[in-house]
Amino acid sequence: MNQPFSIAPPPLPICDPTTAIAISAKGLHKQYGTLEAVRGIDFAIEQGELFGLIGPDGAGKTTTFHILGGVMEATAGEVIVLGRSPQDARSVTGYLTQQFSLYLDLSINENLQYVAGLRQVPDEVFQQRRNQYLRLMDLDRFGDRLAGQLSGGMKQKLSLCCALIAQPQVLLLDEPTTGVDPVSRREFWDVLAELSADGMTIVVATPYLDEAERCHRVALMYDGQIQQIGTPAELRVSLGLHRLEVRTSQLAATERVLAQASETDGEIADVQVFGDRLDVLVANLQRGEAQLRFLLRQHQLSAPEIELAEPTLENVFVTRLRQQGAAPQFFPFPRSRGGNQTLQSSTSKTQNSVAISAQHLSRVFGNFQAVNKVDIDVHYGEIFGLLGANGAGKTTTIKMLCGLLEASSGKVFLGGETGNLRSADLRRRIGYMSQKFTLYDDLTIVQNLEFYSGVYGVPSKLRREKIDWVLATCGLVGQETMLTGQLPGGWKQRVAFGASVLHEPDILFLDEPTSGVDPVARRQFWKLINDFARNGTAILVTTHYLEEAEQCNRMSFMVAGEIAAEGSPSELKAAQPGQLFEVVVDRPQFASNLLKHHFDPWRISIFADRLHVVLDHPDQEVAGLRSLLTSHHLILHSLRPIPFSLEDAFIGIVKRAQENR
């Protein structure tokens, strides 16, 4: 990472005199005791802009939101929201905090009524807005349902409705889509795009960088300061690097060679391993590719297949933070059981033998078929992704696979056992990280780790070393006596992961392990997961974040309790019918509404200033698309085919499966 490139100060937003500045901050500081959370930030957000705030945990994003929302005073600096102080602007500000702010024992309508009452919205206006927003969020059929019975995505949409009911001019959203599935997430962002097109100013923080791509402008925050501001395209260009997707049959060996080279070599800036490919960042396209091929030849590795791709915002984020020295370090796990020994200790375990297997697994709750005839095979040394929308049956499947829940029918095979999945011996070989609640909030970090190493029978000689490894990996050395309940969500997840692997499991279940974890930490997370897989651990993981699902070797997509598609990331993307197009037009929101009228709405989504459109029969449909746009006096700047992302594939599979029902 010694490739020098200029970190030019971000170009200040050129303020078009015709567009008003909705929010401006100058020299903003916030101090808590000795801790400086925000250290002098400046920005100006135009009216109607969708502005993203990204940064690692503890960068000062939430503090900034508190100040903009008028619930906290800045220590120094000036903030103006719509021409007044944030406190005075509270009546025109909608603020969605990280915690759910709903009353779970009230219905959707009652929740909205309550907020409208607080905000003194007149009754007729309330009815009209309620109908309008519930329809926009696709919640209008569920008015009487209790908020507690909604899925995570629906809850977040309802929270947004509550924030919108007083018709704010400024909307502040602090990580609104954590724990929300990709389909709901895309719908949520479609709503945001529409609101912003109607003139609402929206500031949103998100740990998901594919979401940040949908913002007009993005500010990258780190250590209380803004490192860079610009449109997603500007940020990508400013990186000055190119991304090569490298596919080879010798993934692990290739990665080792290239990773070593990236430490010393000027050409190769970064290497990241995915489920069936490597992403390599190079400064110069030709020289980089040549160097790469040369290195592989030198190490007698097979020639790779190389594809050029655009760098992602995640590349920008990770690279910038590395330059700041902020990327968490990777420490190798202190293994006490060598690879060979492991193979001997459990006779059934060889690299290609099956660790987890399910045949025709079903589960019925009452008359609800939660899981229907699911077949899964996970081998030792493999990372297997189980993906699906909220309520698709992933967690139920995992619970059946690890013996926490009995199957209604079907067979489970786990680590050589078929009948008794609850034996202590078997469980000693399994690691499990449940969704959210793994650690005891009322114990300190080190007490939690001591507990898990003790209960899994980690020999006392090795405990200290392993606990130290978790603390070092999480960057929590010196803070181990802090109560776990006080840790921010992302950190807690990292400690929880550490706690679940202390005993070096052969089989690891991870249920949404990276929910709420920032991109750099997430990358470290996956490095660890990969490390375990290479040492022979079978890993089954669920996630809502499809960019990270690319790290899985194989995966299954679940829809409504059934497996709708299966394969490696590349296979799944390749199996998608049709083609994805990027459409750049002058009025994207109008174009989106227009196209949604003529095509299935899920085929169209807005990404910042452009549209993504899925066409099943491009040869016949492109012409129609062009003429439709031009006939409505839209100026078509460009229309080009782009590769499907895994998220596009996922949404296509889910929507097609729903249509076929």
Partner: protein
């Protein structure tokens, strides 16, 4: 020892102890309510009848009638109030609760006394049936003695009762209450704390994670119960000390026997709580149900009111109440100084209850998976 320190069970116990030490609320619950309840029941709840407000309407107002009034008030059970002037006022004051007892001595009292058939009228406010009953028997006794004094010439009565009060010679009612309240406190606190300990893990969501560890379900349950058990034994000692120091309750019997049987009873209360904890999902539900179960247990146990004064049906039913047996044991050991030879029935009942409840709650805890 080293080997034990490496077992999952030790890790579980250590974790529970650390959680308890950080749980100020639980420590408060274990210390303050027992003290308050013992002090309250021991001193404030006193069924002795004293200073009943007496109004005498003495129409006769002669030496004999004044003697009678003096006899009524001389031992402190009745306190004379300003005499009413009419029967209407008397009944009015009884009605409004200003007088508990009204006595009317009619004008012909001296004349009929001479004839040997005098009558006086007594009105008792019987809203509190217990007090009224006691007042009645005191009044009857006082009048009887008064009669005897009048008939000095009469020879001694054929039968003279010589009453000896055993075990509680001073008739101190707190001696009766302290063992009862001990049972009450252990029942309330034992069930609630263990129910919370079991349900909490479910409530916050960590139980699933715990069930995936190699620890067996009995280890998980036992680890939760052991620290509580010791803390509750501490409560037993606390109650005994308070009884001894503040109320001077004697300790006639065998200390070790009492501790062993108390331990037995703690298994009963802890199992009841654990059972509740396995049935419900939230702390709130468990707390409400615990109160619902504890109230009838306390009421039919003889902790406050004697079992003997209950209707026969409930007396039989109360045999199924482990708390009744425990209280009988504590009273027997503390006040009577008897041992197993007298208490074996109660002890046996407690042991059976403990075994049955521990078995059920362990099985229930294991089965709550699916």
């Amino acid at each position: 020892m080293r080997r034990f320190l490496n077992t999952p069970f030790f890790a579980l116990v250590l974790k529970e102890i650390r959680q308890i030490l950080r749980n100020k609320q639980l420590l408060f619950l274990l210390i303050i309510p027992p003290i308050v309840q013992l002090l309250l029941y021991g001193s404030a709840l006193n069924p002795d009848v004293q200073n009943l407000k007496l109004g005498v309407l003495d129409y006769a107002n002669v030496y004999e009638s004044r003697e009678l009034v003096a006899a009524l008030t001389e031992n402190g059970i009745f306190a004379a109030q300003t005499p009413p002037v009419s029967e209407a006022e008397l009944s009015d004051r009884v009605e409004t609760g200003k007088l508990a007892v009204g006595v009317v001595i009619p004008p012909e009292f001296p004349r009929r006394l001479a004839a040997g058939n005098a009558e006086i009228q007594i009105l008792i406010d019987a809203v509190n049936a217990n007090t009224a009953g006691i007042a009645n028997s005191y009044l009857s006794q006082i009048v009887l003695q008064y009669n005897r004094r009048l008939k000095t010439t009469q020879t001694a009565l054929p039968v003279q009762a010589q009453v000896l009060f055993l075990y509680n010679p001073g008739l101190t009612s707190s001696w009766f209450f302290i063992p009862g309240v001990m049972g009450l406190v252990l029942t309330l606190i034992g069930t609630i704390t263990s129910a919370i300990a079991v349900v909490k893990e479910k409530d916050v969501g960590t139980l699933e994670q715990l069930l995936m560890t190699p620890a067996a379900s009995w280890e998980i349950l036992l680890a939760k119960v052991v620290p509580l058990f010791f803390l509750l034994m501490g409560d037993v000692l606390l109650a005994l000390t308070l009884g001894r120091v503040v109320f001077r309750v004697p300790f006639q019997g065998n200390f070790l026997l009492l501790m062993v049987l108390s331990a037995c009873y703690l298994f009963v209360t802890i199992s009841i709580g654990a059972l509740l904890g396995t049935i419900y999902q939230q702390q709130q539900q468990v707390l409400l149900t615990a109160f619902f179960i504890n109230m009838p247990m306390v009421e039919t146990s003889g902790a406050i009111a004697p079992v003997e004064s209950m209707p026969p049906f409930f007396q039989t039913l109360s045999l199924l109440n482990p708390m009744r047996h425990y209280i009988a044991i504590v009273r027997g050991i503390l006040l009577k100084g008897v041992g197993l030879e007298a208490l074996w029935m109660h002890a046996l009942a407690l042991v059976v209850f403990a075994i049955v409840l521990v078995t059920i709650s362990t099985r229930q805890f294991r089965n709550q998976l699916s």
